[in-house]
């Protein structure tokens, strides 16, 4: 055997052994996130949050190192499904931190269900995401709950009598919020006088807004994502709309201010979390480290990404095993767990916690109150 052949054989054996050893010593968790595409900011912020919380709580569980495997789903439903299959079949992960948005999560969920691998989304809020599924979870509250809180706030606190809804029909999240808002707003004695739609990626909303302004509602509800919200606010103000604008947690990205500028002043939105003060020890630690590392206030997406990671890690610890089915049971049993955004309880795959309302003042979000739906 020549030296060269020997070298190759040694190399192969080494690689094989290395593979076996690393497979035994690490726990692989997948991250199926929007690193590029329409909502890249969400995926990137979640990824920041997950990595930051690993620095705080450490990256080991059950005495083994946790290895994160990141796959970009390009903010696309089909890519999200492909990424899920790849994580399970090729990367052999025991659990997945799922896509940020509901549409992609709806595409990824059934695959995890079939292959019995738990998946937890940081921020997908559409009810269908977890409905009737055993292996699909989320670290945030649901769209109906958030929309009901928004409607309650609009009626009780803002005293709005009439409202218009402008929602994105290409996003399950936006459509659901719009519908649930209307239902709850009218149940509380208000009236939704005009409903208009747009589509993800639209930059021009002048036609819809002109119709809305013509109907003259007290309040405009825009349950969309930050890029659309910023442009809608701009164009609404340019077209002469002077009423209140209310949006949902999709508004929470710094781009809202850089694109929206003075047009987003006074905008209200429902949020999962307020980053100015931690509600518990780990929340405060996260906020402090985030500020130290990035020199700005942390965002909700990162915090919920951290929550998703914490829920998974605690579940693996309680399960005492890396068997995905046992991990799944442990996640479902999560109760009053202290995570970055407060105390979380998981029920039927969904997280329960109060809704925060914030307002834009002086180019930043200011805490208004928390709403518990009655």
């Amino acid at each position: 055997m020549s030296v060269r052949k020997l070298f190759v054989v040694v190399l192969c054996v080494g690689l094989l052994l290395g593979g076996v050893v690393s497979a035994q010593e690490t726990i692989r968790i997948g991250a199926n996130l929007e690193m590029t595409g329409a909502v890249a900011a969400y995926g990137q912020m979640i990824w920041e949050g997950v990595n930051l919380i690993r620095e705080i709580v450490g990256d080991t569980v059950l005495g083994k190192k946790v290895e994160l495997v990141l796959v970009d789903n390009k903010s696309d439903k089909v890519e999200a499904a492909n990424a899920t299959t790849r994580l399970i079949d090729k990367e052999n992960v025991v659990a997945i931190i799922g896509p940020a948005i509901s549409g992609s999560m709806l595409a990824a969920g059934p695959i995890c269900e079939e292959k019995q691998i738990p998946i937890i989304s940081a921020t997908a809020t559409n009810p269908l995401v977890t409905q009737g599924k055993k292996f699909v979870f989320r670290a945030c509250f649901l769209d109906p709950y958030q929309a009901a809180a928004a409607a309650q706030f609009a009626r009780e606190d803002l005293k709005a009598e009439t409202a218009a809804v402008l929602s994105d029909i290409a996003q399950d999240y936006c459509v659901a919020l719009g519908n649930f808002f209307k239902e709850e707003f009218e149940k509380r004695g208000g009236k939704v006088i005009v409903e208009q739609h747009c589509k993800t990626g639209d930059q021009d909303f002048s036609a819809q807004l002109t119709t809305i302004i013509n109907a003259n509602p007290d309040l405009l509800y825009v349950p969309n994502y930050y890029t659309e919200i910023a442009l809608i606010c701009r164009q609404a103000r340019d077209l002469g709309y002077e009423g209140i604008i209310l949006s949902a947690d999709g508004a929470d990205a710094p781009e809202l201010f850089s694109v929206g500028g003075d047009a987003v002043e006074g905008l209200y939105h429902t949020a999962i979390w307020d980053a100015t003060k931690g509600l518990n020890d780990i929340g405060q630690k996260y906020i402090d480290l985030y500020k130290e590392r990035f020199g700005k206030d942390p965002n909700m997406f990162g915090a919920l990404g951290a929550d998703a990671y914490l829920i998974l890690i605690h579940a693996i610890e309680r399960a005492g095993s890396t068997d995905p089915v046992k991990i799944r049971e442990a996640i479902e049993d999560t109760e009053n767990l202290d995570v970055v955004t407060g105390k979380v309880t998981i029920e039927n795959g969904d997280a329960l916690k109060p809704v925060v309302v914030r307002k834009v003042e002086g180019g930043k979000f200011v805490f208004v109150k928390t709403v518990t739906v009655e």
Partner: protein, 297 residues
């Protein structure tokens, strides 16, 4: 719908349409001379906004100077694309050049995603562009007024260059017969380079004005405006500059009015535009002005 609302919707349509028109001129110019649909046009459009943005954000230059530099850089990029991607394929079948154009387009988009990132940036606008004026009850942004004015100015400059300068004569000659023009001693490659510089500078101007209306820039921002401007160019009669402007206004108005009159069809807004494209290609492939004016600019 009352009259004021209707008038406002018309203005909304003209506003979007004039931007499509400006972009469509760039497509049509290059096509008219080379017979090549430069799909990278919409990406040079995007680059124009980023160049101007970085001039303002990093070098803190005033708005007008940043825009001028941005447009000049676009011209340079346009020439580089021609030199690197299209010139080697000058004598290849037309389909090869078309596919290369698509490739260049994807390359620039993805390069943008990798270098500046996918997250959108806010584009600063001067007051001139963002002030709102009220005309007959309709509210009109400064940019809506300036875009058609600038487009018409550009038309005059284009006509001057094409009909009154030596380069223009050479451009028209190249568009008629490249080989014969070469035999006449004209440096054809240089003329084509100038054509690309001109077309790309137009894309840069279009990009900056687009960003003034929709102040949010990202590496993929050129795709949809590009497709729609291309549609406008075809509707107007590709190769015809006046037709491109007309096509732009038609597409802009069609898009706004379908949403205004049929809110239920909002989701089909883009589909509607492309349906117009298909109908034109089937019924009148030469476009509106394609037959009336034989002379190609």
């Amino acid at each position: 719908m009352n009259w004021v609302t209707f008038f406002q919707q018309l203005m909304n349509g003209v506003s979007v349409g004039s931007l499509y028109a400006l972009l469509a001129i760039g497509y049509t110019l290059v096509y008219g001379i080379l017979g090549l649909i430069n799909f990278a046009h919409s990406d040079v459009f995007m680059l124009g906004t980023y160049f101007a943005f970085f001039m303002m954000a990093i070098f803190l230059l005033p708005w007008w100077l940043s825009v001028l530099i941005g447009v000049a850089l676009c011209a340079v990029v346009g020439m580089s694309i021609e030199r690197v991607a299209y010139r080697p394929l000058r004598n290849a079948p037309r389909i090869s050049a078309l596919i290369t154009a698509v490739g260049v387009s994807f390359f620039i988009e993805n390069l943008g995603l990798v270098t500046v990132g996918a997250r959108p940036k806010g584009f600063p606008r001067p007051d001139l562009m963002k002030n709102v004026y009220i005309l007959l009850g309709a509210r009109i942004q400064g940019v809506t007024f300036w875009v058609p004015v600038i487009s018409i100015l550009i038309l005059f400059v284009l006509f001057y260059i094409v009909y009154r300068t030596k380069i223009g004569i050479a451009m028209r000659a190249v568009s008629r017969d490249m080989e014969t023009t070469r035999l006449m001693g004209v440096d054809v490659d240089r003329i084509i380079l100038y054509t690309f510089a001109l077309g790309s500078a137009l894309a840069g101007i279009g990009g900056v004005l687009w960003a003034c209306k929709y102040p949010q820039i990202n590496p993929l921002m050129g795709i949809f405006p590009g497709w729609k401007a291309f549609t406008a160019a075809v509707v107007g009669g590709i190769g015809n500059v006046v037709g491109a402007m007309l096509g732009g206004f038609i597409i802009g108005l069609a898009e706004i009015l379908i949403v205004a009159f049929f809110p239920g069809l909002t989701g089909y807004r883009d589909a509607f535009v492309f349906t117009i494209l298909i109908v034109f290609l089937l019924v009148r492939p030469g476009g509106l002005m394609g037959e009336a004016v034989r002379e190609k600019v």
